[in-house]
């Protein structure tokens, strides 16, 4: 029920006085209400639940978490992403 899916903002616009946008979920694009994230912009990642963007994904924190796993000696090179600077 509280399933919420990450997606990337592709377009931001006003519709009926409400801030809306198009969000790409790995190939599927849907219209999403952006009213609760007045700062979010095209290119940002967001978490979407029942048609509403409820949280901006903080890229720095995501990398930080992966870096922490990396530093624990846990993940080594599995991710193929820059987790350690």
């Amino acid at each position: 029920m509280c399933l919420a899916v990450p997606g990337q903002i592709k377009e931001v616009y006003e519709a009926g006085g409400t801030r809306m946008g198009r969000v790409d979920f790995g190939g599927i694009t849907k219209e999403v209400c952006l009213a609760y994230l007045p700062e979010i912009a095209v290119g940002d990642y967001t978490i979407v639940h029942v048609g509403f963007a409820i949280s901006k994904i903080d890229e720095e924190s995501a990398l930080e978490t992966l870096k922490t796993f990396h530093e624990m000696g846990l993940l080594e090179e599995e991710f193929g992403v820059e987790t350690a600077q």
Binding site: M1, C2, A35, H49, I54, S55, L75, E76, E78
Partner: protein
């Protein structure tokens, strides 16, 4: 998809599991309070990969499951009225009321429609000005901002044929109720990540302190869940009881302030009966007086509702970790996802349905661990 695959890495799972094994020295009971996490844990077999010392209790984390029978019966009564188009999230349709479900109402000729978002229901109201459109507004704090926005837009846009049947539930009061129960076995919480993405976690430090219980904000992918478990076990082993954020890419302390502001305007707290658990003070939201004209309960007469729960169902004990789903005598026999008897079987995110759907048909604990059903 970025921000998904990285957190599903199999070797990462093994490495985090090894770290949990290294840290744990004693038995601990952890509760997740989110159906999405329950589903992820069972689907990925995380509970079976953990060291035997760690037991996961699947708490009342599915709002579909805990929506009280009284609210379901009201929905059935309203949806049966000929003037009404009744809109709902899909997973509410086969939740059993006292004598039927919304699918039955639909098969009997009721206009029951599944929507993805409350904004879809609002559009149906706009497109059908001669019909009454009712949306079944259930859910935790995660879903409430969407429902609040639909009601607020209806007021702003003067859509008078739209109303909502509200039965929202709030997580922190339920956590307090669980810790206060005489049969409580919970020693640490994995807090629900997406509830916290809306509400932040400023409500949790007083709970952690009052009950001396570690609370770890946790995500949904296997690495997220294991990171939450590891943080909770580390705290337990060290005798700590702090609030810790293991889902920082999505959750911050403050949460979504614009959402919280509209929630405070549209809703007001009240006591709420949780299916399978009972009444918890201040654990529900209903419409505030300023939005009462959109209250479906006030708009439609539903008559007297007399609810009737199954006597065979032990979902209350499952939700508190007193028994495992498979220890209920009705599990997999009278009670299946096709014929659910109670809270934990009615939605795929309920503990019993998750066990059933992933083939967990036998008890995993030895008989010595079983707690009497008479508790």
């Amino acid at each position: 998809m970025k921000y998904l695959e990285e957190f599903r890495d199999a070797k990462g799972v093994q490495a985090l599991l090894a770290e949990v094994r290294r840290v744990v020295t004693r038995p601990w009971n952890l509760m997740e309070v989110c159906g999405g996490q329950t589903h992820s844990i069972i689907r990925n077999g995380i509970d079976q990969l953990l060291p035997t010392e760690i037991r996961l209790i699947h708490g009342p984390g599915c709002p579909v499951c805990v929506t009280p029978l009284n609210a379901i019966d009201k929905a059935l009564a309203i949806a049966s009225q000929p003037s009404v188009i009744f809109c709902s999230f899909g997973d509410m349709l086969r939740v059993p009321g006292s004598d039927k479900d919304l699918f039955r109402v639909k098969s009997e000729g009721g206009d029951v429609r599944i929507v993805y978002s409350p904004l879809d229901a609002l559009k149906i109201a706009r497109d059908n000005p001669t019909r009454e459109v009712v949306f079944f507004a259930i859910g935790f704090e995660t879903t409430a901002p969407a429902n609040a926005m639909a009601v607020d837009l209806a007021r702003k846009q003067g859509i008078e044929n739209f109303s909502v049947l509200v039965s929202h539930v709030l997580v922190p009061p339920a956590m307090a109720a669980i810790m206060s129960s005489p049969v409580n076995q919970v020693q640490a919480f994995l807090a629900a990540g997406h509830v916290c993405s809306v509400m932040g976690f400023w409500e949790y430090p007083p709970l952690a302190e009052r009950f001396h219980v570690p609370i770890v904000i946790t995500g949904f992918e296997p690495l997220d869940v294991l990171a939450g478990i590891l943080a909770a076990v580390r705290q337990l082993e060290n005798g700590e009881a702090r609030v810790e954020n293991a889902y920082a890419r999505v959750v911050n302390y403050e949460g979504n302030r614009p959402a919280q502001a509209l929630l405070a305007e549209v809703f007001t707290t009240e006591e709420r009966a949780w299916r399978g658990i009972g009444v918890i003070p201040q654990s529900g939201w209903r419409l505030s007086p300023a939005y009462e004209q959109f209250d479906a309960e006030k708009r439609f007469s539903v008559g007297e509702i007399h609810t009737c729960e199954s006597l065979l169902c032990h979902s209350g004990e499952v939700l508190q970790g007193v028994i495992e789903p498979t220890e209920c005598p009705a599990f997999g026999r009278e009670c299946t996802p096709r014929t659910p008897l109670g809270a934990t079987m009615v939605s795929s995110e309920g503990a019993c349905a998750a066990y059933y759907n992933y083939g967990r048909m036998a008890p995993t604990r030895s008989s010595n661990d079983l707690v009497s059903l008479s508790l």
